[in-house]
């Protein structure tokens, strides 16, 4: 960073960072990948002003419905509502003309079908008046019965959007891993979902509420990302650090 970051905004103690509706959108982080000027938002979404394109990954809508089936206890699908609220805020704030959901948008095909009506209506409202692309993920491989276009991958300008990174590719934006970063500072440690960025690719953090994460030190990530990779921490302010390995 060429200058000291401004004072971060006040946040209540013990509040989850930028995971809730209506919270401060955070101070963004601009960078470039393969010539494209991109912005990482504190919410975990990627914004490409030139194409008015908003990209989010791993929404895992309907996760609670699926867990209910496994664990025997039905939880209300409020996690989906939460995720969609945040997405709606990001769309309003950026005025996106195109939204790419980068795979694993649904926990599985069944939960896509089982999403309650209010959530389905909400998705339709968000889709109105803009291009909407569902990229297939490993949790939701087939087309789902919702509006929008369903694609295996998509190329816009120099960038290719796909769910799981292809190690041989470059100029690529992907998701899948739910990367997060763990840091220790003066005896204090914390963990944040993060974008991972090197000169060939960007890996997005999971956007869905109640999704777990994979530490950047995991082999699948250290092998994927090239030396000199950065981690962009989500939160009230997006902060860049060398990716911990």
């Amino acid at each position: 960073m060429s200058q000291a970051p401004p004072d971060p905004p006040k946040a209540p103690p013990c509040a989850p960072q930028a995971r809730q509706t209506g919270e401060d959108p955070g101070i963004e982080h601009a960078f470039s990948l393969a010539g494209a000027s991109l912005v990482a938002l504190g919410s975990g979404a990627l914004w490409w002003p030139e194409h008015r394109l908003l990209c989010v990954s791993d929404l895992h809508l309907g996760k609670s419905v699926r867990l209910a089936k496994l664990g025997g206890s039905a939880l209300p699908p409020y996690d989906s509502r939460e995720t969609l609220s945040r997405l709606s805020d990001d769309i309003d704030r950026t005025g996106a003309a195109m939204v790419i959901c980068l795979g694993d948008s649904f926990d599985d095909l069944e939960s896509a079908a089982g999403l309650p009506d209010p959530e389905l209506r909400r998705i339709s409202r968000l889709q109105a008046g803009r291009r909407w692309i569902w990229i297939e993920g490993n949790h939701d491989p087939g087309p789902v019965s919702l509006g929008g276009m369903h694609l295996g991958e998509l190329t816009v300008g120099p960038l290719t959007f796909r769910h799981i990174a292809d190690p041989a590719a470059s100029a690529e934006v992907s998701g899948h891993f739910h990367p997060k970063v763990h840091l220790r500072m003066r005896g204090h440690s914390l963990s944040r979902p993060a974008f991972l960025l090197d000169d060939r690719r960007l890996v997005l953090p999971a956007y869905g509420s109640f999704t777990g994460g994979l530490r950047s030190t995991d082999r699948s990530l250290t092998e994927l990302m090239r030396p000199g990779a950065l981690a962009l921490l989500t939160g009230p302010t997006v902060l860049a650090v060398p990716m911990p390995r």
Binding site: P5, P8, P13, F31, S32, G235
Partner: protein, 810 residues
Amino acid sequence: MTGLPPSIEQWFSSRDWALHPHQRAMLDAADHPATLLIAPTGGGKTMAGFLPTLADLTTAPHPGLHTLYISPLKALAADIKRNLRTPVEEIGLDIRIEDRTGDTPASRKKRQRADPPHILLTTPESLALLISYEDAPRMFAGLKRVIVDEIHALAESKRGDQLMLALSRLQTLCPDLRRVGLSATVQDPKAIAALLARHPDPCEILIADPGPVPDIAMLQTREPPPWAGGGAAYAIPAVLDRIRTHKTTLIFHNTRAQAEIFFHNLWLANSEGLPIGIHHGSLDRQQRQRVEAAMVRGELRAIVCTGSLDLGIDWGDVDLVIQIGAPKNVKRLVQRIGRANHRYNAPSKALLVPANRFEVVECVAALEAATAGDLDGEPRGQGPQDVLCQHILIAACAAPFRADDLFAEVTTAGAYADLTRAEFDRCLDFTATGGYALRAYDRWQRLRQGPDGRWHLRDPRSAQRIRMNIGTIQDTDTLKVRLKRNRVGKPLGEVEEAFAATLTPGDTFLIGGQIVRYDGLRDMTVEVTRDAGRTPRIATFSGTKFATSTQLSARILELFAQPHWPQLPEHTRDWLALQKRMSRLPERDRLLIESFPHDGREHVCVYGFAGRNAQQTLGLLLTKRMEDLGLHPLGFVATDYATLIWGLDPVLDASALLDARSLRDGLKGWLDGNAVMKRTFRASATIAGLIERNTPSARKSGRQATFSSDILYDTLQKYDPDHLMLDITRTEALRGLVDFHRIEEMLQRVGPRLDLLRLPRITPLAAPLLLEVGKVPVKGTAEERLLAEETRRLMELSGLQEVNRVASPA
């Protein structure tokens, strides 16, 4: 029914025994609706409870169940069965005595319902299950007496509340039921009597001769105890000496983890190979039973144990009780000491072993209180509503009911005597619909009102699920530990799921006194291999952590106020004197706050002496205040006597920080988003049936349960903040884990007398706090500031700053 039948008289005289006066008095009171007997351990208390039953059954044969005996411990029920059978067989009485607990085989349980014994020994949970069956009226028909053993212990927990609600049900089934309570010495017998009796029946209180004054002392060792921690490893040689010179020694610990570690160290030092056993709630049942049996046969010289042995099991010839770690509560100490020398007329002998330097002071204060007979006790207030919700579900399992009838019935339980109809209806509505935010979900709509006005289960099949989740004990979820090569063999014991989650293959830990290596998790079982060679990682099953009682805390402060401390060992005297020189000692009517830099961070230490839970809450509230005041707190740790907070900026003004009103306001806002609340919610929601731990398909793992209860909590908080479960959680938390009343009490006591000392370095009294475990991080602006500093540093360090073109913030 006064007087004993000749056959029982003869048996007594053949053994040269005479009835104790209180046993005689119990016979005289046999027809009273409720009687509470307060007697020391070894005073023939249980026999006193059963004599009227034996007399009755001898003179008038009785078909079916005559007496129900309820104890808080399964082991106690088994023990009583043994002890009662001897006289019954020797007198030649035709009386069937059986126990029924979670460990009883299903076939016997089934038979017991069809053909109940004369005397059934059971636990509150098993009784709650019994009254949930449709055939409960038949099974309990003719029941005449119920004996509640160790009622002083039950009276302090939700298990007692559940039991008393179950008794209200039994009393409806058997209107002539007589209630008997057996209790150890307590500060307020009237309060227990009010719980025992059917409201508003009177309850007679019989107090037996308390016996000789116990002989208690603090163990003096050459080596001083360490500054922090709870292991008391320093005392091992001295404890071994005592074991050698006594017949049988019980060594009590406050937590299971401490018991494990101590046992391990004791074994390493036990060069003579004295037979020593270990007994705690995480151990496998068979293993516990083996230890119990060996103890009864007199084969063990010592048992390292926890509260699972606290209650009146007849341990035969125990002649010494050692308490490792400060007892936290004088009443429990006195009751534990009662375990030693189980003969009525011999004084009990006990030793206290402080685990760290501060506990030396606490042990001395506890000794003084025990000698003065100054027992502690806090009033418990109205019966909790989560237990009531479960009781309503249990009632619905047994049979459809009318709301009026059930309300009338539950308000005969002392703890629920003041329950309003509105409160009851709210609980009923919750069990019926799940409450506003959850009304759309079938699973929480359990009851339906029929056209006849009676409430019944909406789906009769749900009875099975409800029965599987009966109970109020909220142990942390545990996983069985098993030897890898012995998949079908018996488990070694259990560890907490949270602990298991931290293990990686190759890690070693202690269980049942042996070191094992973690190999992996398989079908929800921790697989291990024996590994004698390594230093173990500690098994951190948390066990119960008690807060030091108000009375004991006050005594510690009184002790501090003395000009000299002749009753303290020299090392502790020197420590306190040094504190006095470098700073000050905390005083009863003032609040000492120390502020000092240490290790690159600012620290503030608040000596509230309000007990662990309240000091923890104070930590959360103060860090929030500091956040508001821009002092960038980073984290805190709390003990029974103080809270230590660290952060980026120094605290220089105490009154802004400790303003009672802002703390109270802070409490309101803070409570909702807090982890303690979530934990409390999880417990209450499980009791009230909102969360099911057990389902017919599979047992839910702890992490899944935590996960779903946290989501539920957030959901209700957001969409239905007045939901019954949230009200219950707040009430619970305020008197339990949050313990705000002790903060209020402390602030009232000290008034405006706040002493903020700004000091150049850490003080003798504050230093041990840094060594405490259980540090709580604060996620606030300090974290953002640190993060910004750290990211800048890392970027500069790596030179990546230059490589990546980074635009300034938008």
